[in-house]
C-alpha cells in the first residue's frame, strides 16, 4: 500500500428526500424546517424587499422586478410544462395594459376593478387570438406570439386609435406606493405557489403529457387544443395582470407596452434562474432587472455588459441557479476512500 490512496466523490441525498420522493414523512421539527425554510426565505425576503430599499427609485425597481417575474413564471410554465415557446410577454402586457387604461380613463373605474377585469378579459382575448395556432406543433406558436405585439403596436400607431403614439394619459395610480408594491409582490407569490401547485395536480400532469407526447394524449380521448388553451389562458392572465399593474404604476398606457423587452427579458431570466423550476425565473428577474438598472449609467455599453453576463451564465451555469441550488440543498458530497 502506498500513501497515494484513491478517493472518489460520493453524493448523498439529504434529509427526507432519501426516504421518499413525494410522500413526505414529517417526523421532526428539523425535517419540517428543511422543507419550509427555503419557502419562508423566499416569502419573507420578497415581503421585506421594499422596506430595505434605499429610496423611491429602488422601490420602483422592485415593482418592475415583480412585473417581469410574472412574465417569467408565465414563460416558464408554458415552455417547460406545456412545450409551447411563448414570445408573447409583450402581447400579454400590452393587451392587459390597454384594457386597464381604457377602463380607467374612459369609464372611470378604480384600479381595484380594472386590474382583475383586464386580467380576465385580456386573458380571454389573447387566448382567442392565439387559438388558431394551438393545434400546430413547432415554432408556429412562438412566431405568432412574437407577431401580435408588433402588429398591434403598428395598428395603434397607423390608425391613431387608443391615443395613437401619445398613448392614453391620466390613468389613476394605486392609492400609495406601499399598496402598489405589496399588490405586485402578493400577486407574484400567489401565482408562483399557485402555478407550482397546478403543475402537480392531475391537470398539470395532462399539461406535461401534452408536452411529452401529444399523440398519446389524443389517443386517450382528450382534445389537446383545449388543454393548451386552458394553459394559455393561465399564462396570458399572468401577463395581462402584469400589464394592468404597469399601466397604473406609470399612470400611462402607450405603444411601449408592446416593447419586446417584455418578451425577451423573461426568457433571459428563465435561463439564469433555471428552466422548469418556476421559482428560478423569479430569482432571475430579481438579479437581471436591477443589474440592467445599475448598468444604465454606462449608456449604450449597458447592452454589452448585459450580454456578457448572459453569455457567462449560459456557458458556465447553463442549468440555472435554481437547479444548481436545489441539487446542493438536497444532496451533499463527500470524499470517500475507494
Amino acid at each position: 500500500m502506498t500513501t497515494n490512496e484513491q478517493r472518489r466523490r460520493e453524493r448523498l441525498d439529504r434529509g427526507i428526500k432519501v426516504r421518499s420522493d413525494g410522500l413526505y414523512a414529517l417526523m421532526s421539527w428539523r425535517e419540517l424546517a428543511y422543507l419550509t425554510v427555503p419557502r419562508l426565505v423566499l416569502i419573507v425576503g420578497m415581503l421585506i424587499l421594499p422596506l430595505v430599499m434605499p429610496g423611491m427609485y429602488w422601490q420602483r425597481v422592485i415593482t418592475i422586478v415583480c412585473i417581469y417575474a410574472l412574465l417569467a413564471i408565465s414563460f416558464d410554465f408554458l415552455a417547460h410544462y406545456l412545450g409551447l415557446v411563448c414570445l408573447g410577454g409583450a402581447f400579454f402586457v400590452g393587451t392587459g395594459g390597454y384594457i386597464a387604461a381604457i377602463l380607467n380613463a374612459s369609464l372611470g373605474l378604480p384600479p381595484l376593478v380594472t386590474v382583475p377585469v383586464a386580467t380576465l378579459l385580456g386573458a380571454m382575448i389573447c387566448t382567442l387570438l392565439l387559438l388558431p395556432c394551438l393545434p400546430l406543433r413547432g415554432v408556429y406558436f412562438a412566431i405568432v406570439t412574437l407577431m401580435y405585439p408588433l402588429v398591434l403596436a403598428r395598428i395603434i400607431e397607423a390608425l391613431d386609435i387608443l391615443g395613437g403614439t401619445d398613448g392614453i394619459m391620466g390613468v389613476d395610480s394605486f392609492a400609495n406606493r406601499w399598496v402598489e408594491q405589496y399588490t405586485v409582490i402578493a400577486v407574484v407569490l400567489l401565482f408562483l405557489f399557485g402555478v407550482r401547485r397546478l403543475v402537480n395536480l392531475d391537470l398539470g400532469l395532462v399539461f406535461r403529457a401534452v408536452m411529452d407526447n401529444d399523440q398519446a394524449v389524443r389517443a386517450s380521448g382528450m382534445n389537446i387544443s383545449f388543454y393548451k388553451a386552458i394553459a394559455v389562458v393561465i399564462a396570458a392572465a399572468m401577463g395581462c395582470l402584469g400589464g394592468a399593474c404597469l399601466v397604473h404604476i406609470y399612470m400611462w398606457a402607450g405603444i411601449s407596452l408592446f416593447a419586446l423587452d417584455f418578451s425577451i427579458l423573461p426568457i433571459a431570466a428563465t435561463v439564469i434562474g433555471g428552466a422548469g423550476t418556476l421559482v428560478g425565473p423569479v430569482l432571475g428577474c430579481i438579479i437581471l432587472v436591477p443589474i440592467s438598472e445599475l448598468l444604465r449609467e454606462f449608456g449604450t455599453l449597458r447592452i454589452v455588459f448585459y450580454s456578457l453576463i448572459l453569455v457567462g451564465f449560459v456557458v458556465f451555469r447553463s442549468e440555472g441557479i435554481m437547479v444548481y441550488g436545489e441539487r446542493k440543498y438536497h444532496q451533499f458530497q463527500r470524499w470517500v476512500k475507494v
Binding site: 392531475d202 411529452d212 398519446a216 389517443a219 380521448g221
Partner: protein, 262 residues
C-alpha cells in the same frame, strides 16, 4: 352472423402523394371478435389503424362504429367513443412514473363518464385506479415496477403500458399495433392470456401482428393485406390454406414452418 357489426370499414382508401397506401379496404368486425391483420412490411397495416382511429385523414371511404360514422371525426372524438389504439412505437410519457402515465387517460372525459377500468360510476383517486389497472395488466403491485419512470421500463412493460392506457378508457374496441413485436418468447407467452382475458371481458380487438403463431392462437378471424389491398379474409385455417397468401406473404418454405407451429 346475424349480429350487427361493431365496426364497419368500407372502401377505405389512402394516398400519400402518388403512393396508394390503402386501396378500397372493406371489412366488418363483430362484437367479441379478435381480428388479426397481417401482411408484408409496407402493406398498409399501420396506415389502416391510423385511418380508423383518425390519426390520419383517409382520402376516401367510410368507417362506422356502432352504426355511427366516424370517418371524418378527429382522433380524440373517436377515442372518446371507445375506439382506442396502441402505438407500434411505444409512446409513454417518459418523464412520468408508470402509474402516473395512467392518470392522463383517467383524466379524460370518457374515463370520467365510465369511471375507469372496472370502475362503476364515480372515479376515485386516479393514482389508485392507475395502479389497479397496472396490476391487472401484469405490473406487480408490490414491486417497484409501477413506480419506475417510464423511461427506465423495458420493452415488455412499455407494451403493457400501451394496453393499460387503452384500458383506462374502458374501451369497446382496441386496435393493437404489434403488441407482440420486440418481446421475448416468455414475455409473449405471458401476453397471450392477457389478450384472451380482454376478449372475455367483452372487448373487441383488432391485432396487427408479425408473430403469426401467437396471433393465430388468439384470433378468430384473419385478414391479409398486400400492397394496400385486402387479399383474403377468413378463419386462420382458411387464410393459411389460401395459395395467394402463400405467394404474397409467406414464401414457399416458410409456410411449412408456420403451419407446423400453428
Amino acid at each position: 352472423m346475424s349480429e350487427q357489426p361493431i365496426l364497419e370499414v368500407r372502401e377505405v382508401t389512402k394516398t400519400f402523394g402518388g403512393i396508394l397506401a390503402l386501396n378500397r379496404v372493406s371489412f366488418d368486425v363483430y362484437p367479441g371478435d379478435i381480428l388479426g391483420i397481417i401482411g408484408p412490411n409496407g402493406s398498409g397495416k399501420t396506415t389502416l389503424v391510423n385511418c380508423i382511429t383518425g390519426f390520419v385523414k383517409m382520402t376516401s371511404g367510410r368507417v362506422r362504429f356502432r352504426s355511427r360514422d366516424i370517418s371524418r371525426k378527429p382522433a380524440h372524438r373517436i377515442a372518446d367513443m371507445g375506439v382506442t389504439r396502441t402505438f407500434q412505437i411505444m409512446r409513454p410519457y417518459y418523464s412520468l412514473p408508470a402509474y402516473k402515465n395512467l392518470v392522463i387517460p383517467l383524466f379524460s372525459p370518457r374515463a370520467k363518464r365510465t369511471g375507469g377500468w372496472r370502475g362503476g360510476g364515480k372515479l376515485g383517486d386516479r393514482n389508485t385506479v392507475g395502479i389497479d389497472i397496472l396490476e391487472e395488466i401484469g405490473f406487480e403491485r408490490d414491486s417497484f415496477v409501477p413506480y419506475k419512470m417510464a423511461s427506465s421500463l423495458p420493452t415488455g412493460y412499455l407494451k403493457r403500458l400501451e394496453l393499460a392506457r387503452c384500458l383506462a378508457l374502458k374501451p369497446d374496441l382496441i386496435l393493437c399495433d404489434e403488441v407482440f413485436s420486440g418481446l421475448s418468447m416468455s414475455e409473449i407467452a405471458s401476453m397471450v392470456p392477457l389478450i384472451e382475458r380482454l376478449q372475455m371481458d367483452g372487448i373487441t380487438l383488432i391485432m396487427i401482428e408479425h408473430r403469426l403463431r401467437e396471433l393465430f392462437r388468439v384470433a378468430n378471424r384473419v385478414m391479409v393485406l398486400n400492397f394496400g389491398a385486402k387479399l383474403v379474409e377468413g378463419t386462420p385455417e382458411e387464410v393459411m390454406a389460401d395459395p395467394s397468401v402463400k405467394e404474397a406473404y409467406f414464401g414457399s418454405e416458410e409456410v411449412e414452418e408456420v403451419m407446423t407451429y400453428a
